[in-house]
């Protein structure tokens, strides 16, 4: 494999990785505040991509308006999901809650599949097709846009959690629910809010993936990548998620390239991250940056 090929693999890895990182933030927000392990993250990405597609193609909305509308619709969707489904299973065994999110994923995928079918569709964007050369490697505008947008979004979220009143309340809730309640935080609202935020984040991730790869049901598979990302990056910080995301993105791209050219094997991309994950977990049980909660009997 040539050096050029390697570099271009790295570049696309960084781009995809930044989208992973953003989606991982959605997962972490839900996990930290409500302790729900959300397996429907990928389906939420897919729903976002399809809503955006629907608005731009069928409703002929300009891309940016559709982008914004999608965010709003998905925030509502997340709010409703929490209120109608997850609110009822607070305190149930962790397996049951996982199954509920899996069921949610199945439902979302089925609804989207029934409406839109299985074909790959192109999401029309105002971004021009060409590419710029960065250090001799051509990088398409689509890539640049995705990356810039996810970095921007991540900074916005970091600021939100650090300085805003609600962001602070969310962190307080994840730290000690009851104490937050005692300070006048309506924990139910915080739960709903965290689902709304996670939905918006995933929808944005889905749309960004869609601008690169087009829209089909396979977008949901990207959601599974949040797991290696959060394990590698840890569940505690946005910086961790960003590092984990980019790491996984680059790693799977390069590993896939190597497997293709050396072993002539297809499809290693989707496993590479999980192989690394198992190795990491065997060596460092709570992830590279994760903290092990102290347990008492």
């Amino acid at each position: 494999m040539s050096l050029d090929a390697l570099i271009s693999l790295c570049v696309s890895g960084i781009v995809v990785g930044s989208v992973y990182a953003m989606t991982a933030i959605g997962f972490v927000v839900i996990y930290k505040t409500t302790r729900v392990i959300n397996f429907a993250q990928g389906e939420l990405m897919m729903v976002g991509a399809y809503i955006c597609l629907f608005l731009t193609v069928d409703y002929k909305l300009p891309f940016w308006a559709a982008f914004l509308m999608t965010g709003i619709v998905c925030a509502l969707l997340g709010y409703v999901i929490e209120r109608v489904v997850l609110r009822r299973v607070i305190g149930d065994p962790i397996v049951s809650v996982i199954m509920i999110t899996l069921g949610l994923g199945i439902v979302l995928k089925a609804i989207v599949g029934a409406i839109f079918g299985v074909d790959v569709r192109v999401l029309p964007t105002p971004i021009p097709d060409g590419a710029v050369s960065i250090g001799g490697t051509p990088v398409s505008y689509h890539y640049l846009f995705s990356m810039a947008f996810s970095v921007l979004a991540m900074c916005a979220f970091a600021a939100f959690f650090r300085w805003s009143r609600l962001g602070l309340a969310m962190r307080a809730t994840s730290s000690d629910q009851q104490a937050a309640m005692a300070m006048g935080v309506n924990v139910g609202q915080i739960f709903a809010l965290s689902w709304a935020i996670a939905c918006v984040v995933s929808a944005v991730g889905g749309m960004l993936i869609a601008t690169i790869n087009g829209v089909n049901l396979g977008v949901s598979a990207f959601g599974l990548k949040v797991f290696p990302v959060v394990i590698l990056g840890g569940l505690d910080s946005i910086v961790g998620a960003a590092v984990g995301g980019v790491l996984i993105g680059v790693l799977e791209n390069v590993a896939d390239g190597v497997f293709k050219s050396v072993f002539d094997l297809d499809g290693f991309r989707d496993v590479a991250a999980f192989v690394v994950l198992v190795l990491v977990l065997m060596i460092r049980p709570y992830g590279l940056f994760g903290q092990h909660d102290i347990e008492r009997i």
């Binding site: 962190r171 730290s175 009851q178 935080v185």
Partner: protein
């Protein structure tokens, strides 16, 4: 100001913890609630602050009124908004947040930024140590500082009644003295009404204007702070003054039987 009338609290639909408890907190006073482990002191506070629901508890009978408004089934955040703020047992500060952030979250329901600023100043005036450490992660504070932070955080909510649950827990006698002084100052200087739940009876009765002694989910004794301090039973069983003649086991049983009929 705050009146609890005959409440009954049930956990998990069948564990009866409070069995017809009544008490009154007068405006501007320090009211102490004493009792042994498991008497239901913390449950009483949680019934008032509304945190019961998060522990599968429920007020099944009686009512709680605050300034004449029935708050028995009000949501916790609305109670905080109306000025009922609880400092929970075991401090329960937000460990991963900084001191400053802990203080800020205290004023979560306050929209007026000038009020927030003035309260913050008040908190830092009361607890200068917190100001020194305001950028530090709260989990690394010492036990005493954490208790100060918990009280400071509650002050930020602009309470009209502050409910303190075992503020002396796990603190050295010197620090208990300090907390005692702070409670007194808050009461005298800020005119804050205080409901204090304590096992450390000598501390509680030192500051209390009015006191209640709880046992087994009921109030068994009440009176002014001075009255309770002078009460022989309280002296013997809560303040540890050993009257030799009544220290015998049989008389303890007699005392218990007597209390049951109160």
């Amino acid at each position: 100001m705050l009146t609890i009338e005959n409440i009954e609290v049930v956990y998990d639909t069948y564990v009866l913890v409070l069995k017809g408890l009544s008490l009154q907190v007068k405006s501007g006073a320090v009211t102490a609630l004493l009792g042994a482990n498991g008497a239901g002191k913390s449950t009483t506070l949680k019934a008032v602050s509304g945190l019961l629901a998060s522990e599968e508890g429920e007020v099944t009978r009686g009512r709680i009124t605050f300034d004449g408004v029935d708050i028995t089934h009000m949501s916790p955040d609305r109670r905080v908004a109306s000025g009922l703020v609880q400092v929970m047992e075991g401090r329960r500060i937000f460990q991963d947040l900084t001191v400053e952030e802990n203080i800020r979250i205290g004023a979560f329901l306050e929209k007026d930024s000038r009020k927030i600023a003035s309260r913050r100043e008040l908190v830092y005036e009361y607890f200068p140590k917190l100001k020194e450490r305001h950028t530090q992660v709260a989990g690394y504070l010492s036990g005493g500082e954490q208790q100060m932070l918990a009280i400071g955080r509650a002050l930020m909510a602009g309470p009209r009644i502050m409910m303190l649950d075992e503020p002396s827990m796990g603190l050295s006698p010197l620090l208990v003295q300090e907390v005692c002084g702070i409670v007194r100052r808050l009461n005298r200087e800020e005119g804050l009404t205080i409901l204090l739940v304590e096992q450390n009876a000598s501390f509680a009765l030192a500051v209390a204007d009015q006191g209640y002694v709880m046992e087994d989910g009921k109030v068994v004794l009440e009176g002014s702070g001075a009255e309770l301090r002078g009460n022989q039973d309280v002296q013997e069983f809560y303040l540890g003054a050993g009257a030799s003649e009544r220290g015998r086991f049989s008389s303890v049983k007699w005392y218990r039987r007597k209390k049951r009929w109160v």
